[in-house]
């Protein structure tokens, strides 16, 4: 019997009792619909979560200078300044996985407006690209321009908290504030962002061109923000930084003084054009690793680091955050999926039950088919195909229903939904296998009938 005729026979047999076929397959319909809906809604929410994570900075990378060490004691990341604004520009130009990059120069000083003052938690000198990198928008006014950066203009942008503390409802745009007796014009106000992952208020911020911060506020970043950088002068690093010398004050230095010749021979790299760190954003959370590789290659080349030598910078990402959040969605999706799978199994048991009833009911038919020449395997195939056709039909209905359901959810509840071809393929495969697994036993029972017994069956 060819495949087409087998299918025809099976569908004919099922059509003889359409109501029962429908009810039998309902379990599969519901199971597959649940799987499809779960997968689509799950995929949608994980997509939405990815976007949310991106906006929270999961795709943000921090390039920080490497460790300075002195006398076997390292000062921790960022203790030397090896990054330059040119590095930042090269990254923007040469790393395709990056959406943008902005240098950062940090400062911490008092901000005065009228008779009020405040020390913002973050005082960052940067470029206008910072907003894009940090996924930030302006609430009022404009951000300073590239030109301001080049000219080291005394302009700044304030975060919401700072505005609240200093201005109390007044619009700060156009006002003058003072930092270390340097007067800055406020050109814009940032949109509120709230606390970051660590619970720190991100709105307590002042942004200004990095050139201005560096030249007018901190004087030299080397001294105010980096301990080791104070070695820019002829002063010995170990003397001032090595904590051992503070532990035992008054004692002779543990390390021999560097002679003038030594200092001349091994000058600490001093750049006047350097930044504390570079903040970069990958195009999306998935491209973070690629971006790290590109940045590392680029900066090693720019810094002339030979293969095998350690980098004088490091790149950090928010992998932990991303991983945690994606694994949470994954967990939820898997949980729902397993519930849906259970309903598929229940549906399969329903199919088996009805198939067994059907085999008993059709014993005489089986006997007759055997009497006219059907072999055991013909009967087995017939019932198996019936079960599989039933399951596949149920699966098809379930896919439509589940897809419709998730579309409805999207329309009514505004949940994000993403069509998942993998789920559809999996559902078809699963419903076919449910048909085979749960249809096999009844079909096998049918095929084992003795023709004469079956014919005599009342």
């Amino acid at each position: 019997m060819n495949a087409f005729r087998i299918l025809l026979t099976a569908s004919k047999a099922l059509r003889k009792n359409p109501m029962r076929a429908l009810l039998t397959t309902l379990g599969i319909v519901i199971g597959v619909a649940a799987v499809i809906a779960m997968m689509e809604i799950g995929a949608g929410s994980s997509q939405a979560l990815q976007d949310a994570i991106s906006s929270m900075g999961a795709n943000v990378l921090m390039v920080v200078p490497g460790t300075a060490s002195s006398g076997g004691i390292s000062f921790g990341a960022g203790s030397v300044t090896t990054l330059s604004p040119a590095d930042c520009e090269a990254m923007i130009k040469q790393c395709p996985a990056l959406r943008g990059a902005a240098p950062q120069v940090r400062a911490r000083t008092q901000v005065v407006y009228g008779n009020r003052n405040w020390v913002p938690f973050w005082m960052t000198g940067t470029t206008p690209a910072y907003l894009e990198v940090a996924n930030w928008t302006m609430a009022e006014g404009e951000v300073f321009t590239e030109r301001d950066v080049l000219a080291a203009n005394k302009v700044c942008v304030l975060g919401q908290t700072l505005v609240r503390e200093l201005f109390q409802g007044e619009s700060p745009v156009g006002k003058e504030i003072r930092l270390k007796n340097v007067s800055f014009k406020v050109v814009g106000v940032l949109a509120g962002k709230g606390a970051n992952m660590m619970g720190m208020d991100q709105d307590d911020i002042l942004l200004a061109p990095w050139t201005t911060i560096k030249n007018r506020v901190t004087g030299s970043t080397l001294q105010s923000t980096n301990q080791s950088a104070s070695s820019s002068s002829s002063q010995d690093t170990s003397g001032s930084i090595n904590t051992l010398s503070q532990l035992y004050p008054g004692q002779a230095s543990l390390y021999p003084e560097k002679s003038a010749a030594q200092i001349a021979d091994n000058p600490m790299p001093v750049r006047f054009e350097n930044v504390d760190r570079i903040m970069a954003a990958a195009r999306n959370a998935g491209q973070v690793q690629e971006a790290i590789a590109q940045i590392t290659d680029l900066l090693r080349e720019r810094h002339r680091i030979r293969p095998g030598e350690p980098s004088d910078f490091s790149v950090r990402d928010m992998t932990e955050m991303t991983d945690t959040l994606t694994s949470t969605t994954q967990l939820m999706t898997n949980l729902l999926l397993s519930v849906a799978m259970i309903s598929l199994v229940v549906g399969g048991v329903g199919i088996m039950n009805i198939m067994l009833v059907s085999v008993t009911e059709r014993t005489r038919e089986i006997g007759l088919r055997m009497a006219v020449g059907a072999r055991g395997r013909d009967i087995l195939r017939q019932f198996l195909v019936e079960a599989v056709v039933l399951c596949l039909a149920g699966g098809a209905m379930g896919i439509l229903l589940g897809h419709g359901g998730s579309q409805l959810v999207q329309a009514v509840l505004r949940w994000p939904v993403a069509t998942s071809p993998a789920a559809i393929i999996a559902s078809v495969a699963v419903s076919a296998s449910v048909g085979i697994v749960f249809g096999f036993y009844p079909a096998w029972r049918a095929s084992r009938l003795d023709p004469i017994e079956a014919l005599r069956y009342e």
């Binding site: 060819n2 007759l368 009497a371 055991g376 004469i452």
Partner: protein, 249 residues
């Protein structure tokens, strides 16, 4: 060589501890082209013998030769092939598939033996058989829409569709009135004479012997009369040589 030869066929049913011997050494020879009527009292073992002849059941002991081959030792699949190609069964209770058209009922054996036929050839062949039994205008009727006699004719067409060598009919007229019975028996006789098909039929009706060339009497599991026919020479040779079927693959 006889078409069918039974040698000392015994059949016993085992009901728990009890053994019920039904056939107790039946020997029978049937030549090609014969029309044999099997008669006997109720419970004498006619249906049991027919089931063995039809390869639906196996004898407890004894030999069943068909065209020089011992069939009682064949595997289930081989016997299924024999039932499909060599034998046609007609039941007292018609045994048609309900809610299935006469045409599809007739085509049923083709589903298992004629994989090479297309859907259309299958329908054509089934239609041809229905024409043969005079039901050309009832092809799409379902069994519930047919009279008893018509149903039995559908069953005969079904038994004929694979052009078997033997048709076994167990009380084919048992559920029919005498006039319809006469029609059915006439049909058998015609098939036997025109197509040369060997027919073995069970009946209670002595009238039937009028249609049969040979009557075999069975009593308490033993053949008491007519075990051996007039021999192959005496039997009408099949005019339908085209009915000779190919051997098993």
């Amino acid at each position: 060589m006889e078409l069918i030869e039974l040698k000392e066929i015994c059949k016993s049913y085992f009901l728990g501890e009890m053994t019920v011997p039904v056939l107790r050494g039946v020997s029978l020879q049937v030549a090609q082209g014969e029309l044999v009527a099997l008669m006997g009292a109720s419970g004498s073992g006619k249906s049991t013998l027919m089931n063995i002849l039809g390869c639906l059941d196996r004898p407890t002991s004894g030999e069943y030769w068909m065209e020089g081959r011992e069939v009682s030792v064949l595997s289930a699949d081989q016997r299924a092939w024999l039932r499909n190609r060599k034998l046609g069964f007609v039941f007292q209770s018609f045994n048609l598939l309900p809610r299935t058209s006469a045409l599809e009922n007739v085509a049923l054996p083709l589903a298992y033996g004629a994989a090479n036929l297309t859907q259309r050839e299958t329908a054509e062949r089934a239609g041809e058989m229905l024409r043969l039994v005079g039901l050309q205008d009832r092809m799409s009727h379902e069994p519930s829409q047919l009279s008893g006699g018509q149903q039995q004719r559908v069953a005969i067409a079904r038994a004929m569709v694979n052009r078997p060598q033997v048709i076994l009919a167990d009380e084919p007229t048992g559920n029919l009135d005498s006039r319809t019975s006469e029609d059915i028996l006439d049909l058998f006789q015609r098939l036997n004479q025109e197509s040369g098909i060997t027919i073995i039929l069970v009946t209670h009706d002595a009238e039937v012997s009028r249609h049969a060339r040979r009557v075999v009497h069975i009593q308490d599991g033993l053949i008491v009369q007519g075990a051996y026919g007039r021999g192959p020479a005496a039997a009408a040779q099949p005019p339908g040589a085209e009915l000779t079927l190919t051997e098993a693959p």
